[in-house]
């Protein structure tokens, strides 16, 4: 990781919190190294240490603000050292404004290096693109195989080989809407892209059909599977419908898709905000939501935007960032950290709907606890 110590400290801290548990190397980049122009030299030294780890096959070099400002020319770094590929990923926060977009840049860089573009395509295979709950790809794979798909791979995957195999697939299905550069890499390999995502009743149905037609699967088979899945999803929704007003205000770039699911389940979602910028990839979800009562969708949001919405459309439940959830809880409104609570549950297809909606229903039932806490600490009962 080529950056200053404050940045390095914070990023490694958060990385380990989310379970990376990997030793991380970095060149020392202080005033003296920067003055002496040692960014390249230092980064090369760190790469050499990394290459000595037993079994090392891939060394991503993550270049952040300070190294990018100082300059880190790619041609000055080795492409390969021993058995390990060295891949430069440029993600300075001053240019890449959100971490979802940084994930896209990182994955695109890895694919450009490792993906085998000239390999013959395996027509009935699909790459699922997006960091999702581990059980989600299994559920999706299961349905797709019933439709005649021969194999799926998930990116970013758990193995380097998944990156290598990505160039072979028959089609790409981005499950999240911010993989702009990654999608462009697949297009450059002449691999077609499935629009939408298997979210909710109508979204899943349309997505399964789209996969079927893109991969030229047996239409009858595809239709049967899609209809059956739709029936399951409808039954599921009937069993546990949502009601109430919910905010979806994370920074993962997946907020619109979650909002769509909630609206389909019966919730009112007047306000959605996200860290990513507006993009054609998000437009279908945005239009769908606006047609169903969503009043405001804020891209590149600030905390102040979210707080203003709290006054404008007082919600019953907030799925948001940690600072915003804290403010909602100060008002006795049930709130949960979008990243930790939703990313740790299945989301896609009817099984994902069941898990996500079950969780939200359960949380909303606990609203009295949020009110009690608020009144205990800050309300009328606070001084008692």
């Amino acid at each position: 990781m080529a950056t200053d110590t404050g940045c390095l400290y914070g990023l490694t801290f958060v990385t380990h919190f989310y379970g990376a548990r990997k030793s991380i190397l970095a060149p020392q980049l202080g005033t003296s190294e920067l003055m002496a122009g040692q960014v390249v030299e230092g980064t090369r030294a760190a790469i050499e240490v990394a290459a000595k780890e037993p079994g090392c096959q891939l060394i991503p070099v993550v270049s952040l603000c300070v190294a990018e400002t100082a300059g880190l020319p790619e041609e000055m770094l080795p492409k390969k050292i021993g058995d390990a590929e060295v891949v430069l990923v440029r993600v300075p926060a001053y240019a890449i404004h959100s971490h979802p977009e940084a994930k896209d840049v990182a994955l695109a860089a890895l694919l450009k290096r490792l993906g085998n573009a000239t390999a013959p395509k395996e027509k009935k295979t699909l790459a699922l693109l997006g960091e999702v709950f581990p059980a989600d790809p299994l559920a999706i794979d299961n349905l797709l195989r019933q439709m005649g798909v021969e194999a799926t791979i998930t990116l970013p995957g758990r193995a380097i080989d998944d990156l290598r195999r990505a160039g072979h697939v028959g089609a790409l299905a981005p499950l999240h809407p911010f993989y702009k550069e990654t999608t462009a890499v697949f297009r450059s390999w002449s691999i077609p892209v499935v629009g939408g995502a298997p979210v909710g009743i109508s979204g899943s149905y349309a997505w399964l059909k789209a996969v079927g037609s893109l991969l030229e699967l047996d239409p009858k088979l595809v239709n049967d599977v899609a209809e059956a899945e739709r029936a399951r999803a409808e039954a599921m929704l009937k069993a546990q419908p949502l009601s109430g007003r919910i905010f979806v205000t994370g920074y993962e770039g997946t907020e619109l898709a979650y909002a769509r699911l909630l609206v389909e389940a019966g919730a009112e979602v007047p306000y959605i905000s996200t860290s990513i910028g507006q993009d054609p990839l998000v437009l279908p979800d945005e239009m769908w939501l606006r047609a169903r009562g969503t009043k405001e969708i804020v891209y590149r949001k600030s905390l102040e935007d979210d707080v203003a919405a709290l006054d404008k459309y007082p919600p019953d439940f907030v799925l948001g960032t940690t600072p915003f959830c804290a403010i909602a809880k100060e008002r006795g409104i049930p709130a949960m950290y979008f990243t930790n609570q939703l990313a740790s549950r299945p989301f896609f297809l009817s099984t994902g709907m069941a898990a996500t909606l079950g969780f939200i229903n359960q949380t909303m039932k606990g609203h009295e606890r949020y009110q009690w806490m608020q009144s205990f600490f800050e309300g009328e009962a606070a001084d008692a």
């Binding site: 110590t5 940045c7 914070g10 190397l25 020392q28 603000c65 240019a95």
Partner: protein, 498 residues
């Protein structure tokens, strides 16, 4: 050869500035930062270091390509200021603009700009490209005194009996507990608390630092420059039984409350510290000489643990590595190698050491969090490392974990019938019970077993020796060998490592 960092342990002076200044509610900081610099220091990390939802009194200028590309950060800071002002967020607050590594990288000096913002606004150049968090905290504490206290303090008289505590800030491991215990200790010695700076102070109160007769500096890493500037006698907060006793005596001398101090020490021996006397007299202390300890923590803790666990209780200190690193100590590369090859019974450390232990599969080693980085809640005030209560808490923690070791690792015959049989070389496994009695061991095999056991902490060796013996004999039976050979034991040991 340029320096390569493995798993950074210390943050930068920009973090120090934010974590020190923002502890005071009447400050608002504009950090001259790209969005990531702000998110990490103000929201993502303090969730897990200080268990607070986020730091509220800080706003980023949000450096983008425009600012990096040549316009400089002045207009962005100006804009940020105007928004805050218009929203009323700055009412009743002092504004401080703080530089970051990136703003320093593009040479942004806002000393002039701040004179055009809200009156009294200051610019703190955090030296983030060169200074670490420890140096940074020391410098910012002194800077706050010089800019917000010193002038007004000229008229303030020292009031006998008053004591300041300097430190902690956000991001100081275990600070609430240690602070609580040091307050109790100061009061026990006959002092009255004045300002707890910056943790429980406001910017407007800084001049009041001049009122205290004595200053207590919580950490050896920072705060001493300010303590020197204040011109009154000062002491470091104590750890260990001897250290704490000396501290109470010395503070009593300085305050003229010797009798009270002496009575406090006597009373503590009969109450708080009686647990240590009892554990010393009991069988627990017999384990101390064979319970070895590794320490990775701030230098204050390294010295305190070494004095208490090492010198007073007699536990061997295998290694110590301070934050910031002192000359001659193992760096993370060295600590990692040591934990991979010969981990002690206890390791006090950060998530880095926890990762190294997990890489090594060192299941016989107890890890005790004692340092950042690493997510942890330490908001209960009953878990101090400092003062008399700190000694009791530490010892209680260690003995309870030794009990856990006994539970997990003493030989229980039934435990061996479960699980895979390392070293099996073919599918035709015969139960070891088919061939009763001990198998002969080649001398070299026995030597290899002894060497492997030597790498383990003392208590678990009993069970490990029996476990390895059974695994080796099982493997010998399965391979149809009449004795345990050196080659076989190496295979068994290799399997255990994986």
């Amino acid at each position: 050869m340029p320096k390569v960092i493995r798993d950074l342990s210390d943050s930068s002076s920009y973090w120090a500035a934010v974590w020190t200044m923002c502890a005071m509610p009447d400050v608002h900081v504009i950090c001259d930062a790209p969005i990531g610099c702000f998110n990490l220091v103000a929201t993502a990390v303090p969730d897990y270091t200080d268990a607070i939802p986020h730091i509220e009194n800080i706003t980023p200028s949000v450096i983008t390509e425009t600012e990096v590309g040549g316009s400089g950060t002045g207009p962005a800071v100006q804009r940020t200021y105007e928004n805050l002002r218009d929203e009323g967020i700055l009412d009743g607050k002092k504004l401080i603009v703080v530089s970051t590594a990136e703003s320093e990288m593009i040479g942004s000096d806002l000393s002039d700009l701040v004179t055009k913002l809200q009156p009294g606004t200051t610019f703190f150049h955090s030296e983030s490209l060169s200074d670490d968090e420890w140096l940074g905290r020391d410098r910012v504490l002194q800077w706050l005194w010089e800019n917000y206290g010193q002038a007004a303090a000229a008229d303030i008289q020292v009031e006998p009996g008053l004591v300041n505590i300097i430190g902690p800030t956000y991001g100081c491991f275990n600070a609430p507990s240690d602070l609580h215990e040091i307050k109790r200790t100061i009061e026990g010695a006959g002092g009255r608390l004045n300002l707890i700076f910056p943790y429980e102070a406001t910017l407007a109160q800084i001049a009041q630092l001049a009122k205290a007769q004595v200053n207590v500096v919580l950490y050896k890493e920072f705060g001493h420059t300010l303590a020197d500037s204040l011109g009154q006698p000062w002491l470091h907060a104590p750890m260990g039984m001897q250290g704490t006793t000396q501290f109470v005596q010395k503070l009593g001398e300085l305050l003229g409350t010797q009798d009270k101090a002496q009575a406090f020490i006597a009373q503590e021996k009969k109450t708080t510290l009686s647990a240590i006397w009892d554990l010393w007299k009991g069988p627990q202390s017999d384990w101390f000489p064979t319970t070895n300890i590794g320490i990775v923590a701030c230098g204050t803790y390294v010295d305190g643990f070494t004095a208490f666990l090492g010198n007073e209780l007699g536990m061997p200190i295998s290694f110590a590595s301070s934050r910031p690193l002192r000359p001659g100590e193992l760096d993370n590369e060295g600590v990692r190698q040591l934990l991979h090859s010969n981990p002690p019974a206890f390791v006090f450390g950060s998530i880095n050491e926890k990762i190294y232990l997990s890489e090594a599969g060192a299941r016989y080693t107890n890890f005790i969090p004692a340092s950042f980085p690493g997510p942890i809640v330490r908001r209960a005030v009953g878990t101090p490392f400092m003062g008399y209560r700190g000694t009791v808490y530490l010892l209680q923690e260690i003995v309870n974990r030794l009990y856990e070791v006994l539970f997990n690792f003493l030989p229980v015959d039934s435990a061996y019938s479960k699980g895979p049989r390392p070293g099996a070389t073919n599918g035709a496994s015969k139960p070891a019970a088919d061939k009763p009695g001990n198998l002969p061991w080649e001398l070299e095999a026995k030597a290899a077993l002894d060497a492997a056991l030597d790498q383990l902490p003392f208590l678990p060796r009993i069970s490990a020796s029996r476990e390895i013996q059974m695994q080796a004999e099982q493997a010998a039976h399965e391979a149809g060998l009449e004795k345990v050979t050196a080659e076989l034991i190496q295979q068994v040991l290799a399997t255990r490592k994986n």
